[in-house]
């Protein structure tokens, strides 16, 4: 009896591990239009209304926990204000949430109305409704999908600058791969100066990006701004329009520039704490066809 149980346990375990590895392997090989991607999108579509509802319902809880974290950081001030804060905590959390959302939306509108949106694009405002719990997957899920005109490879901007691009869509949600993802690479230009390179991530550290492949004779200083280059050569073109702010140079040692043709920058967009983004949906006749 016991041996039979052990055999059954081992068989089920082997079956599940084999199923996982088969799924991983097949998923990795197939295109976005493959059956596994399709099945995944169907499940995601079914659950998206629950996800949206839960996101709104649980936002006060999330904000309360985040508020505690921020308060812990500022514990020097906390001591004197503890009594007052305790009575106003709930009210403050609600007000801060609304204020933060309004501020983020306003900054987002300011950014996209500042001339960086090329003709033929229609910015779609979306709420970030999901995030992976590991630092390995630098992706977020937004509540707008192909039904709202969002397509794969559409650029995505946050309130302060470039956030990433759309990599998967369902009718009412989309996956945005952030510029901190291992697969991300964005052609960029340093201003002023005009030196060009490719912005790549430092995986697991969302506050550090690298600008690689710089020309050997370019001299870049800390504090300079990095924007998307948006190059176009014949039929080949960057999916990102030129001039979208990416970040600010934080480390630019002469040695590293000469040896590795690399400098470091921190992204303008707060990629771990953004509630709204704008997807620059591109229509026929736009900058990318």
């Amino acid at each position: 009896m016991y041996r039979k149980q052990v055999r059954r346990r081992r068989a089920v375990l082997l079956l599940l591990v084999a199923a996982s590895l088969t799924l991983l392997s097949l998923y990795y090989r197939e295109s976005n239009a493959g059956p596994l991607h399709g099945a995944e999108k169907v499940v995601s579509t079914i659950f998206s209304p629950f996800q949206n509802g839960a996101d709104r319902a649980l936002k006060p809880v999330r904000d309360l926990v985040n508020w505690f974290h921020e308060t812990f950081d500022a514990r020097g001030d906390k001591a004197s204000l503890e009594k007052q804060v305790a009575s106003l905590r709930d009210q403050l959390a609600r007000q801060q949430t609304q204020q933060q959302e309004a501020k983020e939306l306003s900054a987002l509108n300011e950014l996209t109305s500042g001339g960086i949106v090329p003709d033929g694009t229609d910015p779609v405002t979306a709420r970030v409704v999901g995030r992976s719990p590991t630092v390995w997957y630098s992706t977020v899920t937004i509540d707008k999908g192909s039904g709202d005109g969002v397509r794969i490879d559409d650029p995505v901007v946050a309130a302060q600058g470039l956030a990433g691009k759309v990599t998967q869509t369902t009718p009412n949600t989309a996956q945005v791969t952030l510029i901190t993802d291992a697969d991300s690479a964005v052609t960029a230009r340093v201003t002023p100066g005009g030196a060009t390179g490719v912005v790549e991530p430092n995986v697991g550290n969302p506050n550090d990006l690298q600008l690689d492949y710089l020309e050997r004779n370019s001299r870049i200083a800390e504090g300079q701004m990095v924007v998307t280059a948006g190059f176009s050569t014949g039929n080949l073109g960057s999916i990102f329009p030129p001039g979208i702010p990416i970040g600010k140079i934080t480390r630019a040692s002469v040695e590293e520039q000469q040896a590795y043709q690399r400098v470091h920058l921190s992204p303008f967009a707060d990629l771990r704490d953004m509630d709204f983004v704008k997807v620059l949906t591109i229509h026929t006749g736009g900058h990318k066809k």
Partner: protein, 184 residues
């Protein structure tokens, strides 16, 4: 754990609710620069209470749902949570019911195991960018959060599946005030 259709339904609802809560709420929380992995602790709890088979199947199912909701590589979270559920169940089957003191340690160890498996999958599928020290720091902080949350999560899951637990049934049958005498 005695698996009746009712208990399977409860586990399914529990899994779906926790996956959604993990994606929309827990993953967006900032606790000492990391976020709590409550889903992993729920899988650990089911493994500890239900055994390796139940833990592995539950972990695989909720992991698959997690992959679908995040539109990530199908099988990644499934394999991770399957490992956690199985190892937690094997602990129960070989060592016995964990004591109060052991639960936080097991919670931390399982969270670390989850981080290692997901890292192995990522490296196996070809992450070719520089991996920073923050990945290690994140794994350690998440494990500490896992240790802190292990007991409350285990008690929460126990409430959901209480009627299916053999130990609880024995305790309920035992007359009040009677001395504990176990018969084979």
């Amino acid at each position: 754990m005695i698996l009746t259709p009712g208990i399977i339904a409860r586990l399914a609802v529990l899994g779906a609710v926790v996956v959604i809560a993990q994606v929309v709420c827990f993953s967006k929380m900032d606790v000492f620069g990391s976020d709590p992995d409550v889903l992993l602790l729920v899988v650990f709890s089911v493994g500890v209470m239900g055994g390796s088979l139940t833990g592995a199947v539950f972990g695989f199912s909720v992991g698959l749902l997690m992959d679908c909701l995040l539109l990530e590589t199908l099988g990644g979270f499934a394999l991770t949570l399957l490992s956690v559920g199985y190892v937690a169940g094997r602990y129960r089957e070989t060592v016995g019911r964990p004591t109060r003191g052991a639960i936080p340690l097991l919670g931390a160890a399982m969270t670390l195991l989850g981080a290692l498996v997901i890292a192995a999958i990522q490296i196996g599928t070809g992450v070719d960018a520089n991996v920073s020290f923050l990945v290690v720091r994140d794994a350690i902080v998440t494990s500490l959060i896992g240790a802190a949350l292990a007991i409350p999560v285990l008690l929460g899951v126990r409430l959901v599946v209480r009627s299916a637990l053999v130990d609880e049934r024995r305790a309920a049958r035992r007359p009040t005030g009677a001395r504990a005498v176990e018969t084979p």
